[in-house]
């Protein structure tokens, strides 16, 4: 029994401290792979004083439950979608607004710089959770079974499956489409039967769900960033000796902002290749066509303006 790992002993003979870290992702996703890197790094650098146990695939519940568990101290750490923290601190809504981060490198600069620092502080003020680092969960693209989407006007009347939340509903309202929330396991059949016309998710999930088999067209709209955050219980981190605290921070930075971001870009290329070779065709938008999506999404940002700190919006140039 015990909290696990009692049998192992660290270099100085005392019991290692266990860091339990959870996510809802399967073991083959970029964040899961980075977490295994995190585990190796931290166990090596701490000389066995820290051990990491990773619970993936929703073994500890969905993302909301994991966030709650980290908040209460039932888990030490979690790897969670950034948008989950909007209900703790409204400022975090910016992480899921459409076309806030126009490209990857710019997003990294924001998140590793002042915007990231602002968000971390805002979450810490509102909860017992410290956000350590921002990983890259790729960007959402549109896949559908009806027609190539060339312009936001093509969205009119299309029924697109997305995850159930207010922002997604607002986006599809702004685009004149219909958002249909539905569990991941039901999508394939729904797309096949025409219950939905398309799916709104990252290339990685378009691939793992095999949606390219039933939907023939995709457009790299990249309308929302899927940002992932490594989070830790504040009290737990504070309870560690200072050198271990630094090791946790360093290893998280290395795993989630360096290694993970490389893994996700490779995975994305692979997913796109799979989709293309299966006969799913990409429509490449011109700058003007992309701009039609960006402009049409402006009302969504306005909708959230009253609830987000103006300072943060200024930083993001909104």
């Amino acid at each position: 029994g015990g909290g696990g790992g009692d049998e192992q002993a660290s270099a100085d003979g005392s019991k290692p401290t266990v860091v339990r870290i959870a996510s809802d992702e399967t073991i083959d996703t970029p964040c899961s792979k980075a977490t295994l890197v995190f585990k190796d790094l931290i166990e090596e650098k701490s000389g066995g004083r820290l051990t990491v146990e990773y619970f993936n695939d929703s073994a500890m519940g969905d993302e909301r439950e994991i966030a709650e568990s980290v908040q209460m101290g039932n888990l030490e750490m979690g790897i969670i979608s950034a948008c989950m923290f909007t209900t703790y601190s409204p400022d975090w809504a910016v992480t899921e607004l459409p076309y806030v981060f126009m490209d990857r490198q710019k997003m990294y600069q924001y998140l590793d710089g002042d915007v990231g620092a602002f968000l971390k502080k805002s979450l810490m003020d509102a909860s017992n959770i410290e956000a350590l680092d921002f990983a890259d969960g790729s960007f959402k693209i549109l896949l559908n079974a009806k027609k190539p989407i060339k312009n936001v006007k093509d969205m009119k009347g299309l029924k697109i499956r997305c995850q159930e939340n207010k922002t997604n509903m607002s986006i599809y309202k702004a685009w004149n489409g219909t958002a249909i929330p539905m569990g991941f396991s039901e999508i394939y059949t729904a797309l096949q039967q025409g219950t939905i016309d398309g799916v709104d998710t990252s290339p990685l999930y378009q691939r793992s769900g095999k949606f390219y088999e039933v939907g023939k067209y995709y457009t790299m709209t990249n309308h929302q960033a899927l940002i992932m955050v490594s989070v830790i219980n504040e009290d737990f981190l504070a309870s560690l000796p200072e050198d271990l605290q630094q090791i946790v921070r360093d290893c998280s930075r290395e795993a989630y902002t360096v290694q993970e971001r490389q893994i996700v870009q490779d995975a994305e290329k692979e997913a796109i290749d799979t989709m293309n070779s299966a006969g799913c065709t990409e429509y490449v938008m011109s700058d003007a066509e992309l701009a039609s999506f960006v402009d049409a999404s402006k009302p969504v940002i306005e909708e959230y303006r009253p609830t987000v700190n103006p300072e943060l919006l200024t930083m993001l140039g909104l």
Partner: protein
């Protein structure tokens, strides 16, 4: 004693009406979601979350209703065997023990459920689609535990009283 019975009775009536009402709302909300999606072509974004929260509430308050109606899934082989063999005192004692173990579980759930509710009032977390504060959703856990505990105390008092009477009368 009579006023006490009256209070219990009127509470039972309120509980029953409340549960019927919430279950009906649950059907209406979920069906509205289906209807808006397939007939009107637009989905409600809050119905799914609201339905989930109502479901958790009726599930925990339903525990109390199940206790009132004595419908909980229990293996009654042992108490029935004792009854059949005429060990009536042992049977009563066992029934009190069962209620006591049940009571202990509920008290633990009550205590930690209350701590969670308090923590969530402090952070002010809310449901992403409905905006309902999470502490209201968690509140069903301690509330149900309080009611279940009260019902169990009532049952234990009645059984203990009968057990004492049996001892006074003597014999098996």
């Amino acid at each position: 004693m009579e006023t006490f019975k009256k209070i219990v009775k009127s509470y039972d009536a309120i509980e029953m009406k409340f549960l019927i009402f919430v279950m009906a709302i649950l059907v209406v909300v979920t069906f509205a979601q289906v209807f808006t999606r397939y007939v009107m072509g637009a989905a409600l974004f809050w119905s799914e979350e609201l339905a989930k929260y109502l479901f958790v509430w009726i599930s925990w308050l339903g525990v109390s209703a199940g206790l009132k109606e004595k419908e909980h899934i229990q293996v009654k082989l042992l108490p029935e065997a004792l009854h059949a063999k005429g060990h009536l005192k042992t049977e009563k004692g066992l029934l009190i023990l069962i209620d006591l173990l049940w009571f202990i579980t509920s008290i633990v759930v009550l205590y930690y459920g209350f701590i969670i509710v308090a923590g969530q009032m402090e952070t002010g977390v809310y449901g992403p689609s409905t905006g309902i504060p999470m502490w209201i959703n968690y509140l069903c856990v301690p509330v149900s535990a309080v009611i279940v505990c009260l019902r169990l105390i009532g049952g234990m008092i009645v059984n203990s009283y009968e057990l004492v009477c049996m001892f006074r009368r003597g014999g098996r």
